[in-house]
């Protein structure tokens, strides 16, 4: 019997232009938080925001939340963060 040639069904990952950039922390950095509104993370996220404000005070310049956990943040939200903050903490929960 001749050999069988099988085609690989696994999809090649799409190439992305996104690059991770290391953020160097300093006390004068402006921080935004962007919660994804996942149902399981309300308590965690609330506490995280409290701790950030408690420990970093005025550095926290915006606390935002997406309406739809599973969709990308609306452009206006991303623009707001980009204009007001140096870094954003995003997520989380499943």
């Amino acid at each position: 019997m001749a050999n069988l040639i099988l085609c690989d069904p696994i999809g090649e990952a799409a190439k992305t232009k996104k690059q991770s950039v290391a953020i160097r922390w300093s006390p004068n950095k402006r921080i935004a938080t962007l919660f994804n509104n996942h149902v399981s993370s309300y308590r965690f996220w609330k506490r995280l925001e409290e701790l950030l404000k408690e420990r970093l005070g005025g550095s926290v310049v915006a606390t935002l939340a997406k309406e739809n956990t599973f969709a990308p943040a609306p452009q206006e939200m991303i623009t707001e963060i980009a204009e007001t903050a140096d870094l954003a903490i995003v997520g989380v929960g499943a």
């Binding site: 085609c7 696994i10 990952a13 799409a14 309300y42 599973f70």
Partner: protein, 354 residues
């Protein structure tokens, strides 16, 4: 095209497991001549992509789609149906990334409607959710293998569904054309009556409802359906979104004979499928501060007697007619959806090659 060479059918079947190409069920070995036959039928560029399947963000090229269709057991003529389903799942409002990754148990339910149902032998009658039809079984299976192999929906790794459901192996039904007394699903969703289409909705598994429509009044049928649909732990009751009611042909006929159109049927269910706040608030699945929580749609959510509707907007209730005739029990099936942010009904026309 990446290929693997094996020396026997047995080795091919086992290799599919060791390569991680299947979720547990054996697959048809995706031999090159079978894949080529599918591509020749479709007359497409194998490297053209329909988009990116999340969460792994694999490219849904025709080559990969056809390969997965072959593994599922599809004949070439089934492949345009699968392609329409993939296009529908890639619509933004379906939010496939979330459907694939959520801890919820939803899976994309594929509903086929139009002349293709008879042309390709889809089962729209007895055992519509079960076995008995190659078209239903293989189209649903191909969709799952695509979500697995291109999208990376691996349980416990990317697919975090805590319960899952059997529809994660194959989940495809067809609307019955002859026994549907109302307008076809795809016509309601903007296509022509002689078009064939696929509608996808992310849903729980089907919950059977015995309506007794062979003996009962329309009011009794509506009461049974409404009560069976509005359980307080289901996602749709808590957070809205689209849901599917598969109306058995006896029940559809009974309602149509009593003057119900699909529109008036929807309104009647919306009016009846409501539960008081004092019961619904016992479920803390969604927190009241969540934007989808039912409390946001009530004037006074603190009033224990205020009524929470399951169907927030009548357009969210997808109705299709399918299933077999029975003795008068008038079985129907309800599939709760995910929530108002995703898994929403998306329809695509099936386009066959010229």
């Amino acid at each position: 095209m990446k290929t693997i060479e094996v020396s026997s059918i047995e080795e091919a079947i086992e290799r599919a497991y060791t390569e991680g190409w299947t979720d547990g069920l054996p697959v048809v070995p995706p031999e090159l001549p079978l894949v080529q036959k599918g591509l020749d039928y479709l007359r497409v560029d194998p490297q053209e992509s329909l988009g990116v399947i999340p969460p792994k963000h694999g490219l849904a090229t025709y080559e990969k789609i056809v390969t997965n269709c072959v593994m599922a057991g599809c004949r070439p003529e089934h492949m345009p149906v699968v392609i329409a389903a993939v296009r529908a799942m890639l619509q933004d409002r379906f939010s496939l990334n979330g459907v694939q990754a959520t801890t919820n148990s939803v899976a994309p339910l594929v509903i086929v409607s139009g002349p293709v149902v008879e042309q390709l032998g889809f089962n729209s009658r007895w055992g519509v959710f079960g076995g008995g039809s190659r078209a239903n079984a293989t189209v649903g299976r191909a969709v799952r293998l695509i979500l697995w192999n291109i999208g990376g929906g691996y349980p416990g790794k990317i697919d975090m569904s805590t319960m899952g459901h059997p529809g994660k192996y194959t989940f495809c039904i067809a609307e019955d054309r002859e026994w549907n007394p109302w307008s076809p699903l795809h016509v309601e969703r903007g296509l022509a009556a002689d078009d064939s289409a696929v509608t996808v909705v992310a849903t729980d598994g089907p919950h059977q409802i015995g309506t007794g429509s062979g003996y009962a009044s329309a009011e009794e049928v509506l009461a049974v359906l409404a009560d069976s649909m509005m359980t307080i732990g289901n996602s749709t009751m808590n957070a809205g979104g689209d849901m599917v009611l598969v109306v058995g042909p006896m029940t559809a006929r009974a309602l149509a004979d009593r003057g119900y159109t699909k529109e008036s049927f929807r309104l009647a269910l919306q009016e009846r499928a409501r539960k008081p706040v004092r019961l619904v608030r016992q479920c803390l699945f969604y927190q009241p501060s969540h934007p989808y929580h039912w409390s946001h749609i009530l004037k006074d959510p603190t009033d224990p007697d205020a009524m929470v509707p399951l169907i927030r907007d009548v357009k969210q209730l997808v109705i299709t007619v399918a299933g077999g005739m029975g003795s008068g029990t008038g079985f129907c099936s309800f599939c709760p959806g995910w929530h108002q942010g995703g898994g929403l009904a998306c329809t695509e026309k099936i386009i066959f090659p010229n």
